[in-house]
């Protein structure tokens, strides 16, 4: 496979052809914040946190879905990008009802960690305070839409790894919700195998094991990539 040489933050690095900027950066210890990205499933560039500047390009590009190109010059940590990232995190907090103090994922939440990383000490935007449902009709798991950031990790892991596609997204804009089967209660979604991969994949406290209380919802998200690698590299 051909090598590609390019520059990130004044550092010359080489990557394999077809690799994304995010993959190449991580292999060289350069961290780019992500939220919708999950190792083991496809990338969709939805959350926009991994946006980077590419010299000569007018628009910002999501590092998770942009392949490296020979001699491209990438910047991952400029003042403009830092401001946009903080804005994105604040908008995510304003869009739903995230109450860390009473959340099952408190202390183990990727959204909470990102808020710290971008230096969010308050939200400048008006909170939307939308009315959101909590579905605990499934015997093992629950979904609290108040805490969902619509990253679609659950949708992708269910479709691509479990091969079932119980999860999907319905509605548009502020009314968008992740749904199970034909927008039935999760407990009545016949396609669900109760495998729990969506529980592993969820970055916040939105999808949780029933019975988990504040701060108890820890998950090993690396298991998804492990399952995928075990399947693909079987010999």
């Amino acid at each position: 496979m051909a090598a590609r040489t390019f520059t990130i933050n004044d550092q010359l690095i080489s990557a394999r052809e077809g690799e994304t900027i995010l993959q190449a950066a991580r292999e060289h210890g350069i961290s780019i914040p992500t939220l919708c990205h999950l190792d083991g499933v496809s990338s969709v560039g939805a959350c926009r946190l991994c946006l980077v500047e590419i010299e000569g390009s007018r628009v910002l590009r999501p590092a998770c879905v942009t392949p490296v190109v020979e001699e491209m010059i990438v910047r991952t940590d400029t003042e403009r990008l830092r401001e946009y990232r903080r804005m994105i995190i604040e908008l995510l907090f304003a869009e739903r009802n995230h109450v860390c103090a009473v959340c099952v994922a408190n202390g183990h939440c990727e959204l909470q960690d990102l808020a710290i990383a971008v230096g969010m000490d308050h939200v400048r935007f008006d909170y939307a305070f939308p009315r959101c449902d909590v579905d605990i009709s499934h015997p093992l798991f629950g979904i609290d839409h108040n805490r969902c950031v619509l990253c679609t990790r659950c949708v992708r892991v269910c479709d691509e790894v479990e091969g079932v596609h119980t999860w999907d997204v319905a509605g548009r804009g502020a009314d968008a919700r992740v749904i199970t089967d034909m927008r039935q209660p999760w407990g009545e979604a016949r396609s669900c195998t109760s495998c729990g991969k969506c529980v592993l994949a969820c970055p916040t406290g939105a999808i949780f094991r029933r019975g988990a209380t504040v701060g108890e919802m820890e998950r090993d998200r690396h298991k998804i990539a492990y399952i995928v690698a075990a399947r693909e590299q079987r010999w």
Binding site: F93, C100, A101, V102, Q112, A115, H122, Y127, R131
Partner: protein, 163 residues
């Protein structure tokens, strides 16, 4: 309670400050020319609203202290339900075991605002201290910076983690 967890450092703090107003100090009126106010809690009712405007007017550095002040937090859980009247009715009339009636005591029980708001949505805030509650070490770091008199900068997991 978290503030009291500052333990013996409270004695050191006491040497540098005059405590002029608090829920625990027997002072009825918020005084003029206050240097620093730590504001706990969100703006939920008309009393809160009146007091926070007075505090802002009479204070140099206003610090939103803890998640309720910074985000609304648990106290804002009622917001998605909208107008508080049906909620009060459900609690005090429909579900009441005895003496069912809507709370209405003008001048004593302050009416609820339609929505609970974080402090900075009502008046300008100078510094934000997240945490539910902010741990004593975080409070101490904030107060040390405040006493030092320079710009206050809080960053990192130890200082700005919500929850």
């Amino acid at each position: 309670m978290s503030f009291l967890d500052l333990d013996e450092w409270l004695f050191e703090l006491a040497q540098h400050i005059d405590l002029v107003y608090s829920p625990l100090a027997d002072v009825k009126e918020y005084p003029e020319h206050v240097d620093v106010a730590l504001v706990e809690g969100a703006v939920a009712n008309e009393d809160n609203l009146r007091l926070i405007r007075q505090v802002r007017e009479r204070t140099r550095i206003l610090i939103a202290f803890g998640d309720c002040a910074v985000t609304g937090n648990v106290t804002a859980l009622r917001n998605p339900l909208g107008d508080p009247a049906p909620l009060l009715h459900a609690i005090y009339v429909e579900r009441a075991d005895v003496g069912s009636c809507m709370p209405h005591t003008p001048g004593i029980i302050p009416p609820l605002l339609d929505r609970v708001q974080p402090v900075h949505k009502v008046v300008p805030v100078d510094v934000y201290l997240p945490g539910c509650p902010p741990p004593a070490s975080r409070i101490r770091a904030l107060l040390e910076q405040t006493l030092a008199g320079g710009a206050i900068h809080l960053a990192g997991r130890d200082m700005i983690k919500f929850g």
